[in-house]
Amino acid sequence: MGEKKKKIIKSIKIDVDKCNGCRACEMICSAFHATPKYSSNNPARSRIRLIRDPLRDVYLPVYAGELAKAECMGRDKYVIDGKEYDECGFCRASCPSREVFKEPDSKLPLKCDMCQDDPPQEKPLCVQWCINDALIYEEREEEVEEEVKLEDVEIGLESMIDKYGMQKVMDTVSRMSASKKG
């Protein structure tokens, strides 16, 4: 089915030891994604969030990833170098169990897009503004197997055929098309 293809994977390496906790990443992310660009800013709309607990020396910049519709079951704690981290601190999901990665007004989920821009930005804006190098932009080339993807309509029709049989589906489609034309 598939064939090998080269793909550029964009990623951001996070060095938490270098984070000084200033939240410039949150600020500039929200400014870049404002419409028009930079016309407003609001860290609450940012697609990067600094999970920050200064007295316990917890500084975790985390990027918005996929939407998780349901809360996960039981969240673990990690102890790293004597510091306790909540699993949420590493999770990229916009999910029902926390406020982050949702538009404050509509509660719609947010997702990092690596600052897609025309002309393209050299690096995502959060990386550009983190001059302490806690955030490092990296590109790597990977060979990925490209699957031949079924179109949405095809997937839908296949399941209808599974359920009702080919003939029934064909009859229905011709009847519908005749009545629409008439």
Binding site: I28, L55, N132
Partner: protein, 668 residues
């Protein structure tokens, strides 16, 4: 729509428990920008000069600056303003951290408190929802501890909390307002907060801050950030390490304290230890510092790392910045380990790390001189460090001699008498100063010490090197990329400045040059204080990223207000003069404008008079330091002139001397 600012203030009446959201006049932003400028205007308009600092009629104003919450790097300062119990003048102190941007995002430019709550409360601002909540369970809690407890109670880890400790609750004149890694420490603002029954203000905001001309503004912000990066790689040669870079003096990062320990005074600003620093001490202090310093940290939207998280084993974690690292150490003739330990307790109490150590060292001196007695020190441990902990605990609780000392060295000396006044030797306008005693009078510093309304040299100085450079080659090298000068003449002032001979202190810089230099230094501070910009990126260091040439466009593109260099200079003059008028109305006169007598060994009374005369004249003030009717008119401050005339502080006839008064005579 309003840009950069929100256009709304919160008005909180603590007596009645009322909360109002009030729209502000955009014309005032054009006249004063914001921050300190508009807060001074509110104090002038609404608090009569006879109001006592601890009166319910006194206002306590927490203000953002005009650029706070915008992408401008380092615009994060909260400016707190009220009448100070310490100086009785207008008190303003600023803190970095995260509070001001959060308030902007909640939808407010300022929070203005009046009245007094009958019981201890805290304010919770959560966007449009604002409530006064009971704080009786927080009574006596530490300032850092309180912030944590409030966040837990509200289940809002992202709330930013400004809080007082026990010192503020007990109206100790050195009480600070603490907020994460920052604090508004000077002039007793925490005492006014405590007097109002206000333990803390928690704020959470998730609204947008808007920019008028985004493309233009972000381009400038990017240039500033790039400059900070390049400047970080290029420290200024020929000056001591802590003055070579940007930000506050980098004392959390640097271990080398040769300069402070050998040039600043120990004890009650008394003893200079010229040969203190050596390899052994450096290694010991390095070990101490590195064992307690968990991380170097920043304020909101700033790459500088001026603060640090400090975790001393066995006591709770706190945050520190700048010179407070050494103030306790040096006041007690102790070492750095003691400094970090006692500062933790003082931070939880919410105390000014600047005045507090001096007050304690003053008490120790008075005891040694026999002016304070064994009875005053009954129960005090005999070891040196123990004595300082004991004094700190007494002062904060206002117990015994602590109740007297809690009013600072000036007022304590008045109350103790028996010659104690001579020991309160390091004050300007009743407030403790940096423990610095020098040889030759520096005319620029003389003027700044005398006339600064902040009454704290670090909030007045900057931009211009503190001393000449030895060779012409070094000077030429320094001025080559000195783009920050408002006028090319400043380069020549610096090039011609020598260590010895005709063109050296005290007669060079000349009187007129000194006035020019001070005006530039003040200008940058006043602009910063209105914008909420950290002095560490603008008015304080040499060759900063923000200056008089890029500020006008930055302000204009952020706010949409038309602004050029002349316009911005006019705003600065207006704000500077208004602050002076607020203090003049409270009794400030020429007689109050003097540095500590022993600040310099070599003094020049005639020259000093000339300097002050020239400074006043340049500012458009009369020889008492009172703004004239004409200069007030030029600054759109006719209402100030009218008031000063009505009170007889100004007279219509310039030749008639105005009513003689001074704080010294009036308040005794």
């Amino acid at each position: 729509m309003r840009y950069a600012e929100t256009g709304f203030n919160l008005e909180i009446d603590l007596t009645r428990g009322s909360i109002e959201r009030v729209a502000t006049d955009p014309r005032l932003t054009e006249l004063h920008l914001g921050g300190l400028g508009t807060s001074a205007k509110i104090l002038w308009d609404r608090v009569p000069p006879e109001t006592e600092p601890f009166s319910p009629d006194n206002l306590l104003i927490f203000s953002t600056g005009l650029l706070c919450g915008t992408p401008a790097t380092g615009a994060n300062r909260t400016i707190v303003t009220t009448y100070s119990p310490q100086t009785l003048l207008m008190g303003y102190s600023m803190m970095g951290g995260f509070w001001a941007p959060e308030l902007k995002h909640a939808g407010y430019d300022k929070v203005i408190f009046r009245g007094k709550s009958p019981n201890l409360v805290y304010l919770w601002i959560n966007n449009d929802k604002v409530e006064i909540r009971d704080a009786s369970h927080l009574k006596g809690k530490g300032a850092v501890e309180t912030a944590e407890l409030v966040r837990q109670e509200l289940k809002e880890p992202n709330a930013q909390v400004a809080a007082i400790g026990l010192a503020g609750e007990n109206r100790v004149y050195m009480a600070s307002i603490e907020q994460g890694r920052s604090s508004a420490s000077r002039l007793g603002l925490g005492a006014v907060m405590g007097d109002k029954g206000l333990k803390a203000i928690a704020v959470r905001g998730t609204k947008d801050v808007n920019i008028a001309r985004p493309a233009e503004f972000i381009k400038l912000c990017n240039e500033v950030l790039q400059y900070i990066k390049i400047r970080g790689e290029k420290p200024v040669p020929g000056v001591m390490p802590i003055l070579a870079g940007l930000g506050s003096p980098q004392e959390m990062k640097l271990v080398d304290e040769e300069w402070h320990t050998q040039n600043f005074m120990w004890g009650n600003a008394r003893e200079r230890k010229r040969d203190y620093w050596n390899k052994e001490i450096e290694e010991k202090w390095k070990a101490t510092q590195e064992s307690v310093r968990t991380r170097l940290i920043s304020c909101y939207n700033c790459p500088m790392k001026c603060g640090a998280t400090i975790s001393v084993p066995g006591i709770s974690t706190y945050m520190m910045k700048c010179f407070s690292k050494l103030t306790y150490t040096m006041a007690a003739f102790s070492d750095l380990d003691f400094g970090f330990r006692i500062a933790q307790r003082a931070t939880e109490y919410g105390m000014d790390g600047f005045s507090t150590p001096q007050v304690m060292a003053f008490a120790v001196e008075l005891k040694e001189a026999g002016i304070l007695t064994d009875e005053d020190f009954a129960g005090c441990p005999s070891d040196n460090e123990g004595k300082f902990y004991w004094l700190l605990d007494r002062i904060v609780r206002r117990e015994g001699i602590g109740d007297v000392l809690a009013n600072g060295t000036y007022w304590a000396a008045q109350q103790i008498g028996k010659g104690a006044e001579a020991y309160a030797h390091n004050n300007i306008k009743k407030h403790e100063q940096l423990p610095l005693k020098l040889g030759m009078l520096n005319p620029v510093y003389y003027l700044m010490y005398c006339t600064g309304e902040k009454i704290n040299i670090t909030q007045i100085e900057g931009q211009f090197p503190q001393a000449p450079f030895p060779t012409m080659e070094e000077r030429e090298d320094f001025v080559k990329d000195w783009i920050q000068v408002p006028d090319e003449k400043f380069k020549q002032y610096f090039l011609d400045w020598e260590f010895r001979g005709e063109r050296s202190n005290p007669y060079y810089p000349t009187v007129d040059m000194s006035v020019d230099i001070v005006d530039w230094q003040e200008m940058m501070h006043y602009i910063d204080d209105a914008l909420g910009m950290c002095a560490g990126l603008s008015s304080f260091p040499l060759k900063p990223p923000y200056h008089i040439h890029n500020y006008p466009v930055l302000i204009s593109s952020a706010t949409g207000i038309d602004m050029d260099e002349a316009g911005l200079t006019q705003v600065y003059r207006r704000n500077r003069t208004l602050l002076r008028a607020v203090n003049v109305r409270r009794g400030l006169r020429r007689a109050d404008e003097k540095p500590p007598e022993d600040h310099w060994k070599k003094r020049f009374p005639e020259l000093e008079e000339k300097l002050l005369d020239a400074y006043y004249k340049f500012k458009g003030w009369n020889n008492q330091g009172i703004p004239t009717k004409e200069s007030l008119h030029e600054l759109d401050l006719d209402y100030v002139a009218e008031d000063l005339l009505l009170r007889g502080i100004l007279t219509d006839n310039e030749d008639t001397p105005s009513k003689e008064t001074s704080l010294e005579t009036e308040k005794k």
